[in-house]
């Protein structure tokens, strides 16, 4: 296959990994929670998009704002009334509780929606266009564009709004933030809500490219984690760059090493990065 084609395939997929990791990195960076339920949130977003498409015929791109809003509310409530109770405990306990949340979400989804493979198939799902020898599927291009827009909006909110400043202040120093009158519990919940919203957006778009099942989240949690670490934890640009890097790695590995090991490659990459460069590509030495 043409080198350029492999490159483009990788980049287009990388955008999705980017917004997944952005949500993961935000929650991790601000609250020091590694959200193992991240993949389950993506799964929930995917199912919402699927049902809105299946029952109401709503296009996944049009239903995306609804999916995002629903996941924000869900994430807000989860943090406000469950995770906030343990947020200052040891890392192991916060990790474990999000594991519990993941298991609950996956099995509720299994009970409600069964384990069947499902896919969102709008009429234009198979359409593509060609430039020279390059084939570019429209859906992937639009998904990529959407992820870029979402990333930019998110970064602007975080950098240039009052809310964003409150989130960053809370992440820097919990007690000082509280002393300046920031409602910390609320800000934590909003932060988790935003992370969940990004996961939901990724899920809403995912269903157009790949099949969805209740169990789809496990490897996506790991990939989000890989990307967040790859880019450098706590740097939001890092998540996006890391996402593109993982997309490219998978695309090249899939093409030149065979299609059987995409996950093994990303996890192998993770272990290597953790050992040799724990601060990530864009991260600072601490």
């Amino acid at each position: 296959m043409l080198l350029l084609q492999v490159l483009i395939n990788g980049l287009l997929l990388g955008g999705l990994y980017g917004i997944m990791a952005l949500g993961m990195s935000l929650i991790w960076g601000v609250m020091n929670i590694v959200n193992v339920a991240h993949g389950a949130l993506i799964m929930l977003g995917a199912y919402l998009a699927f049902w809105m498409f299946h029952l109401w015929g709503l296009d996944p791109f049009l239903s995306l704002p609804l999916t995002i809003a629903a996941l924000f509310v869900y994430g807000y409530c989860l943090q406000r009334w469950v995770l906030n109770l343990v947020v200052r405990a040891q890392l192991f306990l916060t990790l474990l509780i999000t594991f519990g949340v993941e298991v609950v979400m996956i099995n509720v989804a299994r009970l409600l929606w069964s384990s069947d493979l499902r896919q969102v198939t709008p009429a234009y799902a198979a359409a593509n266009f060609e430039i020279g020898q390059l084939t570019i599927p429209w859906v992937r291009l639009w998904v990529f564009a959407t992820t870029l827009v979402l990333s930019v909006v998110f970064l602007v909110v975080l950098e240039h709004t009052r809310l964003g400043r409150a989130i960053r202040a809370t992440s820097e120093e919990l007690r000082a933030a509280r002393l300046t009158g920031i409602p910390v519990a609320h800000i934590y919940a909003v932060t988790f809500g935003l992370g969940a919203a990004l996961a939901g957006a990724a899920g809403g778009l995912w269903g157009m490219l790949f099949p969805i099942t209740p169990m789809m989240g496990g490897s996506l949690t790991l990939k989000s984690f890989v990307v967040a670490v790859l880019g450098g934890l706590g740097t939001m640009m890092g998540a996006i760059v890391g996402g593109l890097a993982l997309g490219l790695t998978e695309s090249f590995a899939g093409t030149y090493l065979g299609p059987t090991y995409p996950n093994a490659i990303s996890f192998g990459l993770l272990v290597l990065i953790l050992i040799f460069r724990p601060t990530g590509i864009l991260g600072r030495r601490t």
Binding site: L91, V103, A185
Partner: protein, 317 residues
């Protein structure tokens, strides 16, 4: 003191003698349940070695269980070895694997270690899915075993062995070294503990028992495939049983396994998804109400509820 010192071992031996007669007395259904209970108890106790005593929360111990199961499977079906020759290998291979993988990843801390181990387990599953000798995605069919009583005694023996190792850890120099690493690794190193060696040995012992159990499990259920023996939920079960009872104690993981396996058995007669859902809920409730385990709450006696309320308030914002 003199009498009490002997009381526990004598009582334990007595209980074992009674337990040993069980296969002849109970119905096949109950026997299956007991074997399963033993298996979960071994896994919880084996996780306890690295996660409880050493404080390295491994989220990938199912990898060792899976490797043990496949070692057993390959040796018995492809090499035609008998049980007694294959079983030691089911412990040895994961042990060596853990030592090799452990050297680099035990340098990681906290979240990084947890996720790296999760990555190791997922990667193993994928590799097993893709290579020929494991039967790839279709799995391996094991020789049919003679009698459930055999598995009962094998699991029981493994359980006794792993419990004795935990007892040893709770009162030996090596065990104190592990606890020192858990409490403050830098201080432990400063006191002259070779932390890398201690952690790697603990990880390897933990893996050996998980692998042995995997080996017995493979022969017991007679058919293995990657999804059956590399399931993340198995790791979660080990962790939650250990934490539920009290991680870093000897009795805690046993208690956790007994309580949770019984509850989940009742539920899975209804629906498997329901039993897993219940597991997830337990994880959440345990972290919220008794992060130090059931033993700690029970010790508070009449103040149990107050202890749980205190736990709930302790880490909130």
């Amino acid at each position: 003191m003199g009498a009490r010192r002997w009381l526990t071992p004598v009582a334990a031996l007595g209980a074992l003698a009674v337990l040993g007669t069980a296969p002849g007395l109970v119905s096949p259904f109950i026997l299956q349940f007991i074997i399963n209970l033993f298996m979960l108890a071994v896994l919880a106790e084996s996780w306890n070695i690295i996660g409880g005593f050493t404080g390295y929360a491994s989220f990938g111990n199912v990898a060792f269980f899976g490797i043990g199961a496949y070692t057993m499977g390959i040796l018995m079906t492809k090499a035609g070895l008998p049980l007694w020759a294959a079983l030691p290998a089911a412990g040895l291979v994961p042990m060596v694997f853990a030592a090799v993988v452990g050297l680099p990843i035990l340098r990681l801390k906290g979240h990084y270690f947890a996720i790296a181990t999760l990555g190791v387990a997922e990667t193993m599953r994928e590799i097993v899915y893709n290579v020929e000798i494991t039967g790839a995605g279709t799995g391996l069919v094991m020789p049919i075993a003679r009698t459930p009583a055999l598995f009962f005694y094998l699991m029981l023996a493994t359980l006794v062995a792993v419990t004795l190792v935990n007892v040893w850890l709770s009162r030996s120099r090596f065990g104190y070294g592990l606890v020192a690493i858990r409490e403050d690794e830098d201080a432990a190193a400063a006191m002259g503990i070779d932390t890398a060696r201690y952690k790697t040995i603990a990880f390897a012992i933990s893996a050996a028992f998980a692998g042995l159990t995997g080996g017995v499990f493979a022969y017991w259920i007679t058919f293995i495939d990657p999804d059956a023996v590399f399931r993340v939920i198995v790791t979660i079960q080990m962790i939650i049983m250990a934490v539920f009872g009290g991680a870093g104690t000897v009795v805690g993981p046993l208690l956790g396994a007994l309580v949770l396996a019984s509850l989940s058995e009742v539920l899975s007669t209804q629906l498997v998804a329901l039993a897993e859902l219940f597991n997830g809920l337990i994880v959440i409730l345990v972290v919220l109400f008794m992060p130090k385990g059931l033993l700690e709450v029970l010790r508070a006696g009449r103040g149990s509820f107050r202890a749980m309320a205190r736990n709930l308030r302790e880490y909130r914002v």
